[in-house]
Structure formats: structure tokens, C-alpha cells
Symmetry: C2
Subunit: 339 residues, 2 copies
């Protein structure tokens, strides 16, 4: 876990045989990787629809899906699955397993436990498995991969030299190399990536616009919506469906929403109750005053001129008593009122 410099890797690829890398799924993301891979390796792409022109421009060899037999005849060192999360299992199923015995199989999905389990279950025991999550894409990594996070887990590696040679591509491109178990990745992701997408999707439906009185906090909200709503619903769905932790994240968020609504209701009730009690106390006080005045008036018929002073004393005593009780603060202090 954490960032690693991978100091043991040999960066000078001239001393090594060039890797042969097969890319299964030669769409946007597959082509994006191929553009960099060709600097370090021979690249072969395979895709259902024709991408031969794109492959030619990049300098990769292209095969249509039905020609998988010839694609695999290239003695590929590494096969990297560039499919969506949803179609990953099905796509892996289209590859003849017995021809993958000597390969390193790599995935690049945004969830990690799912592809790990699928590959562990369906691949021959001699196939090496490397689970990765390049946390960037054609947009964010358009000009450079420098400083962008590359998460990886050496799930099952019998040929460490080959795996390291493949990893050295990302390291040479100055990615931030983050080695992390698939399980931990998904734990983190549910409480960062998924919650971000969830909030972004919910807020994205509010039709929010910039106003002349935007606060800094609201700028953050707008940025959040912008960064997440560009991504497909399929990706969002995958972050939910194929990460065991996401359901709990969704549940907690739903609960917190309800809790905030309950807190508002409780505050309303509290303020109403306080106002009622204050009113009751005022009524009681007035009644007591009335009784005192009656008493004073009764006394005054006996004692004449001292009645005024007596009323004043009785009232003062009563008010003093009230004050000692404390009562409610008249005024709330302003803390961080302004926003």
C-alpha cells in the first residue's frame, strides 16, 4: 500500500526483449493505452467492430473478434482486458482458456474484487494475474500520465520479471504507483469514488446554475456535478453493483438524509416547545402578580400609606426569585453565522 518507487525495476527496455501486449477491447480506453504502450512494446488489438484504421495510426496490429485464434498466435506476453465492468466476465469467456496458460492477464477496471474473482475462477492456474486500476483516462491523461495514480495488485504472479517489465511502463511514464490489495481498493473506493458519483448524480438532477451570490461551498458542488456527470451511467452502475461495499455506502447516505430531516423536525419541535413554555411562565407570573396586588390592596386598607412600598417590595421579591431561576437566554450569540 502507499506509493512505491519500484526501485528494482530495470527502466532501460533496450536490455530486455520487447513485450508483446494484446489489448482485448480496442475502444477509447484500449486505444488510449495502446498509444503509450507502442513506445515500449509490440501491441495487438482485438475488437468486435472494426478499429483497423485507429490501430494503424497508433502502430498496433488489429484483429476482428472472430479472428481470436490468429490474435493469440502472436505469443502474447500480456493480455490486457479493456472492456467495461459489465461485460468483463462475458468478454473473458470469449478467449480460449488453454491458450492463456503462459500469459499475464491484466484488467483495468474501476472495481477490483470482481475482476480478481472472475479471473481466479476462470483462468488456468498457470496464468499470471495482475489487477490494476489506472485512475485516469483519455481526458485526464491526454498529454501526460505524470503524477496520475496507477493502483495495482499482484494477485498471482509466477513470472515476476514479466510483471515488473509491464509495470515499468507505467512507472517510466511517471505514474504514482500505488500497490494495494483489491479488497482494500474497493473499501476505499466505496467511500470515495462511489459516494462522489452518487452525490454528483443526485445533484446533477437539480438543474443547478451559477448565481450572482455563489459561495465557495456551492462552487464545490458545481465542480462535483461537472466532474461526475460526464461519466456514463454504466460506470456509476458498475461502481455500485460490482463493489460489495457500495450498498452499505448507499444505505448510510440514505439514513443520513433521513437523519438530517429528523434533526430539522426536532429543532422545530424544540423551538415551538420553548415558545410555549415561555408563554406559560409569563401567564403564571402575571397571575401571581395579580394575587400579590390583591393581597397588597387588602393590606393597604389596614395599613394605609405603606401600601405602595409593600407592593413594590412584594413584586421585587417575586422578580428577584424569577431571575435566580435563570430563565431562557434572550439572545443567541453569533458564531460562524455568515457563510
Amino acid at each position: 500500500m502507499g506509493t512505491e518507487e519500484l526501485p528494482g525495476l530495470v527502466r532501460d527496455e533496450s536490455k530486455q526483449r520487447r513485450l508483446k501486449i494484446g489489448i482485448v477491447g480496442f475502444g477509447n480506453f484500449g486505444q488510449f493505452l495502446a498509444k503509450t504502450f507502442v513506445k515500449y512494446a509490440d501491441v495487438y488489438g482485438i475488437n468486435r467492430s472494426d478499429k483497423s484504421n485507429a490501430a494503424k495510426q497508433i502502430g498496433a496490429k488489429f484483429y476482428p473478434s472472430y479472428d481470436v485464434a490468429n490474435f493469440l498466435k502472436n505469443n502474447l506476453d500480456v493480455i490486457i482486458m479493456c472492456t467495461s465492468v459489465i461485460s468483463f466476465e462475458q468478454m473473458l469467456g470469449t478467449l480460449p482458456k488453454d491458450q492463456l496458460r503462459d500469459c499475464l492477464l491484466v484488467d483495468v477496471l474501476s472495481v477490483k474484487m470482481h475482476p480478481k474473482e472472475v479471473m481466479m475462477t476462470s483462468l488456468p492456474p498457470s496464468t499470471d494475474i495482475l489487477c490494476t486500476h489506472p485512475m485516469f483516462g483519455p481526458e485526464s491523461g491526454k498529454y501526460s500520465w505524470q503524477g496520475l495514480s496507477f493502483v495495482f495488485d499482484k494477485v498471482r504472479i509466477s513470472n515476476p520479471k514479466r510483471a515488473d517489465q509491464f509495470l515499468s511502463i507505467w512507472d517510466s511514464e511517471r505514474c504514482k504507483m500505488v500497490e494495494m490489495p483489491c479488497e482494500l481498493h474497493d473499501e476505499y473506493a466505496a467511500n470515495s469514488q462511489f459516494i462522489t458519483h452518487l452525490m454528483g448524480r443526485i445533484l446533477g438532477q437539480q438543474g443547478l446554475r451559477r448565481t450572482p451570490i455563489d459561495t465557495k461551498g456551492f462552487e464545490n458542488v458545481l465542480n462535483l456535478v461537472e466532474t461526475t456527470c460526464l461519466d456514463s451511467f454504466d460506470l456509476f452502475y458498475s461502481l455500485y453493483k460490482y463493489n460489495v461495499n457500495s450498498e452499505e455506502t448507499l444505505r448510510k447516505l440514505r439514513e443520513s438524509f433521513a437523519l438530517v430531516e429528523r434533526q430539522i423536525a426536532a429543532k422545530e419541535a424544540y423551538i415551538a416547545a420553548r415558545a410555549e413554555i415561555a408563554m406559560d411562565e409569563r401567564t403564571n407570573l402575571l397571575e401571581e402578580c395579580r394575587a400579590i396586588i390583591k393581597e397588597a390592596l387588602a393590606t393597604s386598607t389596614l395599613q394605609g400609606a405603606t401600601s405602595d412600598a409593600l407592593v413594590r417590595k412584594l413584586l421585587a421579591d417575586r422578580l428577584d426569585e424569577e431571575q435566580k431561576k435563570g430563565g431562557q437566554p434572550q439572545q443567541e450569540q453569533q458564531g460562524g453565522k455568515q457563510v
Copy 2:
């Protein structure tokens, strides 16, 4: 509406009589304003608890709440209410209305229709009313007010010179002067300030932490939580309770949450249905093939050596037919997969 330069204001206060400004509620925010006001005006503070030391340091004269009569004997030009939203109405009620006839009453609350209505209802018709929302406070305006938004609405002004002299303080401090009706302020605020606080409060309960694999979107989430959860629950409650638009904002957000959950459920159902249909079609295809083979075998007993070719032709016809039907795409293209 929009920013204004207020070009007509006379900035050189030496040509004008110094204003006498009374601050009702001499807590954090009242003191914060007083520190700047003393540069332009004589400042008088009144507060329930004793703030005479703070007032002395600032250069203002202090009165305890019970001494409101003497506080008002200063012939105040402007009285600015620095209370919380919740206690605003009650605090205004403690001022003897007939002594406010010749004053300009100002509020600084984060909601605007509520104080406008309270002041319009309870103040004498000759009292001038200016509703304002300085969108900053002791933290953000610690060193300078330059560029910070000051929203105001001249609700009822019979003495424009006095109001302009008061506004010129904010303008001289280089605030971004935003003149806007209270109603529009609250419309904007419900869809910016309130929604920001609501999201911040909900997310604040998730116990989110930075992880080694944070995305830019998640940074926005963390910033949102940090900027909103410093503010009091009372402020959040006020943004809800005292802005007529906030209930609708809360309702829409609750609906969007439910909608996203329904979208997830719909996607699950869709994928399951597609898988089922694909399985059904495969079963049908196999059964038809079986029938064709039986037919071919039956024919072969009659025609001998041509049976192989016949089976091949029948199967090819059937598969061709299937292909024309189209079927489901095997593979989903990767759009903005990575995040």
C-alpha cells in the same frame, strides 16, 4: 441586480457628518462589523451579556440589554441587528418602536424575505429599512473585505443620503456590491447556499477520510464537508426554516435520491432480462440445430455421401438467418470509463 459601483456615493466621509451606528447583538459578528465601522462612524453596541471590554478595545460604546433606553438616547442614525435568524423577531421586539421612527434599520441575515417581512410588519412607517446579506464573516473577512459579496435591498428608504452613506462603508472597503430584491436572493440561496449546506451535513455524517486513491471529484466532496460543517446547525436550520424555497429544494433532492435508486434497480432488471433472453435464444437455436441434424440424418439414409454437405448448408442457412436478426452486441464500447 448584479454588481454595482455606486458611482454617486461620496466616499470622502470628511465632507459628511459621521454616522452614529447602533449594533444590536454585540457577539462575534457584531464585533466583527464594529471593527470596520469605527473607521467611518461612532459605534454603539448593546448585548445581553457583558461585552464592555471587547467594545472598549474596538473603540465602541457598550450598553447592557436592560439599558436600551440610554442606548437609544444617542440619536442613532442606523441600527444594525446582528442577531441570529432564529432570534431576530424576538430581539427586534425588545426595542421600543416609537423611538425607531427616525432610524435606518438594517439586518444582516443569511435569509432575506423573513427579516423584510418582520420589519415591514412591526416597524413604524417612517422607519427606513435596508435588508443586507454580507456573504462573509469573521473568518473569511478577517484581513480584508475586498472582493467579498455584499447583497442589499433598499426595502423602504425615505432618506437616501443616509442609506447611501451607510452603503458607502461597504463600498469603500471594496466589497462586491450586489443590489438584489430579497425574494430573488432567497430563490438563489435555496438552490445554492441551502443545497450546499444540506449536502455538506449529509456527507459530514459519513465519516469520510482521505484515502491513497482520492479522485478530484472526491476532493470536492471533502472540501464541501469542510466548508459547511464548521457552520452551526442553527444556521443550517435557519436557511431551511426561514427561506420559503428551501422545502422545495429538500423535496427535489429527496426525489432525486429515490430516482437514482430506481435507475439502479431498472438497470439490474434490464441486464437480468437481457441475459435471460440470450439464454432462451441459445436454447432455441440448439433445439433447431438438433432438428436439422435429425432431418439431415434422415435424408442421408436416402442420399448417402451428400449428407455432410447438406447438414453444413442447413446449419449455415440457419446461422445466416440468426445473424440477420441482429442479436445483442457482444461488447460494450468504452466511453469515459476511467475516473
